[in-house]
Amino acid sequence: MNQMALAALKTQLKNFVQSMFDEGVLDSQFSQIQALQDSSNPNFVDEVITLFCTDAERIITELNKYLGYQSVDFSKLDTYVHQLKGSSSSIGAHRLKLACVNLRQASDDRSKEGCVRALNSITREYCLLRSKFQTLIQLERSIIALETNR
């Protein structure tokens, strides 16, 4: 019975990740992360996603703070968006990475209005990604629980 439930969950996870690839939410870098998870480190994907979300939320808060000032410190903005772009690239968050590129461009152009638009897009993409990651982590945890009980 457990065996069948496990197989069903693995298929569900595979299809869910594939749908994220199809939508452009994730790219092939995420497969690299998944490949690094094995029996010696069964929670690796969960660990990386959790780290990513904690950092992303901190950075988005900072970006909002700096864009809220009358006079924008574009170099500070650039530093934070570089961090978020790097994290997005490392985890394979494709659409979020592209949104970061847009903010970087607007920052280079010294356009506050462009930066605000790009940050709104980053926030939207991040919220979508977080919600999908939550589903993914739930599936991962259910699979690990069944595998542990085997």
């Binding site: 992360i33 690094l36 660990e47 985890i91």
Partner: protein
Amino acid sequence: MAQSRHAVEKEQSTKITALVVDDNRINRTIHRRLLSNLGIENEVVGSGKEAVDAHCSGKKFDLILMDMEMPIMNGIEATRKLREMGNRSMIAGVSSRSMEEDIQEFIEAGLDDYQEKPLTMSKLISLIRKISLNG
């Protein structure tokens, strides 16, 4: 039965030691795991200054994976400083900076190799091969 490519690389890379220098903890986590999967003993630090401190404390590494943009001391300064102090590790720049002049400056600071982020298993294996060939 033929050994898998990954297993062969793992055998070759045993005994190689590496230092990950990156201020981003997601990158540190991923790079560490990539190295561990190849059986490479590794340590991590969060800035160029800490990499220089590790060298000063007498630690030696075969490979240093050096990020470019970091607080306190960036990868370019750290690489220059390490070379000035006689560090002979293979230093590989790992960065997502796409400006050609930045990359050039990084290389001229003393890099042996440059890899664009994200670092993947195949990129890491190509670095390990270079160490094995030079060793």
